[in-house]
């Protein structure tokens, strides 16, 4: 907070995202040990990531589901490539802040987490029950075609049959959580070609092509 000279500014900006702007030691440890570091370690030691909330069966199911939601394609990797399964397990344990209740007052952090956990556990179980009824096996035990058949019934809310509403709600939530996990990962951000979060010496507005697409232009300077 002392005065800041040009050299120091350049140093500050040049150092990003190294020491100056990163996390406190504890936060950094938490962040890196989890999604990314855990993944790398698993590759190195051959030891699998140990989920903290999801059971082994649930974790394997989630891995299949998120890759069905966002698969690898010609432009980028899959949801599991981007660490989405690890992220989802983390979010199941994480505490949100107290939240505004529609009735007034607040919903506590613990209550929200419990709701979140129950919805995930219950949703995954709902899916297994569906598969059991139809094919006499769990979602994981199903063939790819069988999995698709069940997911097709819950992936399009407006077209889903009335008895599918619980599956639809679960899949909507899982799709959203997968989207956050994927599009906020390094893989996802590069895929979207987000070009910001960088030092811009001079702001020149939007490029011609972007202006043209929206049918607008700058007034003559």
């Amino acid at each position: 907070m002392s005065t800041i000279d040009r050299r120091r500014v350049l140093k500050l900006l040049g150092s990003a995202p190294a020491l100056g702007f990163t996390w406190t030691v504890a936060e950094a440890r938490q962040a890196h040990q989890h999604a990314q570091a855990a993944k790398k370690a698993a590759v190195k030691t051959g030891k699998a990531f140990q989920p903290k909330f999801l059971t082994d069966h649930e974790y394997k199911t989630v891995r299949v589901l998120v890759d069905m939601i966002i698969p690898k394609d010609e432009r980028s990797g899959s949801a599991t490539d981007a660490g989405v399964a690890e992220f989802i397990d983390f979010m199941m344990m994480d505490l949100p802040p107290e939240q505004r209740s529609p009735a007034g007052g607040f919903v506590s952090s613990d209550e929200q987490r419990t709701v979140r956990q129950t919805a995930m556990r219950g949703g995954l179980t709902w899916l297994d029950v569906q598969c059991n009824r139809r094919f006499n096996r769990t979602f994981l035990g199903c063939t790819e075609a069988q999995r698709k058949e069940v997911i097709d019934d819950i992936a399009w809310p407006a077209k889903a049959r009335p008895e599918m509403t619980h599956g639809v709600a679960f899949f909507n939530s899982l799709r959203d959580l997968t989207a956050t996990g994927f599009w906020t990962s390094k893989i996802g951000i590069e895929d979207l070609d987000y070009q910001g979060n960088v030092f811009v010496a001079e702001w020149e507005g939007c490029p011609e092509e972007a202006l043209k697409k929206l049918g607008v232009k700058y007034e003559a300077d």
Binding site: M1, D73, N197
Partner: protein
Amino acid sequence: MQIVPTPKIYDVCIVGSGAGGGMAAKVLTEAGADCIMLEAGPRFDSEKDGKMFAWPYDSPRRGAASPQRGFGDFDAGYGGWTLDGEPYTTAPGSQFYWYRARMLGGRTNHWGRISLRFGPHDFKRRSIDGLGDDWPIGYDDLKPFFDKVDTLIGIFGSKEGMENEPDGIFMPPPKPRCYELMVKKACDKLGITCIPSRLSILTKPLGDRPACHYCGQCGRSCSTHSNFSSPSVLIPPSLKTGKLKIVTGAMAREVTIDKSGLATGVSYVNTKDRREYQVRAKIVVLAASACESARILLNSKSTLFPNGLANSSGVVGKYLTDSTGLSVSGHFPQMMNSVPHNEDGVGGMHLYMPWWLDNKKLDFPRGYHIEFGGGRNMPGYGIMGGIHRLNGGGYGKALKNDYRKYYGASISFAGRGEMVPNKETYCEIDPVVVDKWGIPVLRFHFKFSDYEYSQAKHMQETFRSIIHDLGGTPTSPMPTREQGYGLEPGGWIIHEIGTTRMGDDPKTSVLNKNCRAHDVKNLFVADGGPFVSNADKNCTWTILALAMRTAEYIAEQRKNGSV
């Protein structure tokens, strides 16, 4: 419990370190006063503690909010709608949410930098429409201080010559983003004024602060001090005088007085050792935020002041208002498959819409301004959530492609309007509940009137007409009257003011026109508490100008020896 007094008697004790406290400290220390500043939270240094340039994946929760960081992992605000062990209550039937920061600089570290001067009409509303009250001062009284604030802190904008949106001393505004030009086109057609925004972000270097580098992350606090926060702009020059002592972790309990009824200082709880300390000072300036300052006064009860200090009028805590606010998002097909480019810009909108209509022709008395944002933002927690409402849902490669198409194709419009003070909206001390420091807490009463609901309806209709004009689709249905037209509950816009209002009559106001307590001549308030009305503008720039005026008045009085 033994109270530990400070040996030194300071010239001034300032409670709070945000816009008002920071400004008071700067003016008073530079005028030679020995100041002590009490801040309930920890120190904060944007160079070391800020999260500028962090990527979402640097956070295990991808920037989501947590109990410690109510606005997310990257946001600079330490605090939130609830604080552990520091409750507040609401009266039956009332809804009110109180955002509190606990950190050096308070909310100035993460605020929106929207820096609008209150205009000539905003000080004289009763004279114009018969509602509420006039301020005891007018725009002309504050204009020189607005000018000095502009020059000291730095602000960009454009000269428009609008009567109630006074021009300031502006740096050049940044060029609009392309979707902002698109919105302006619709506004021009609909007769809605759309002009460059006025934000306290440097587009030219100022003193030793470099110009903005357009990372769009002002809310994370700026590591190069290129925007306004109290610790970036006001605290450093105060410390440089050698006259400012900052005590962090100091939760103010009450203003202490002597037998003659003059303030002698402030007692506080040290949040680390939980002991009670007393700071002695010749002058006390409360700048703890409007409601927190009212709470301190109401809790400063004595035989001389049985209703709380400076409260012979019974007005402390009354006349509370927040800005009205609501938002509507739209999805725009022409923004799909957008051209990849860096659209970050400054940390906020480059254009906005000031109030453009005449209330005499409308069914509500006060106006609002419009803020908007969208486009290709840095992906964050919750990105493209609810996509099934736009594309129908699905999964697989088709869904992945949809995400790419839809990224950056929405704009959100938010209204910020003026609420008329009413008798049913105020805060008081809860008769039963104390916080973990043993300090009685505030209980809020809050009610909007039809004025605000009619205004909210107008906001909804306006935003929807802009969205429709552009060929877009609102992502939520028009709310009904029963749903309050989507008006956010009281406190939600975090512009709460008015709880220690100014006035010429000591029977109907807490402070005189110099923000000095009518009842206690060495007690001043320098936050949003003194405001008589709220205006359709964000309050910070006027808090800064008013705090500067108050602090200069105190410095003058010290010179005269009258306090």
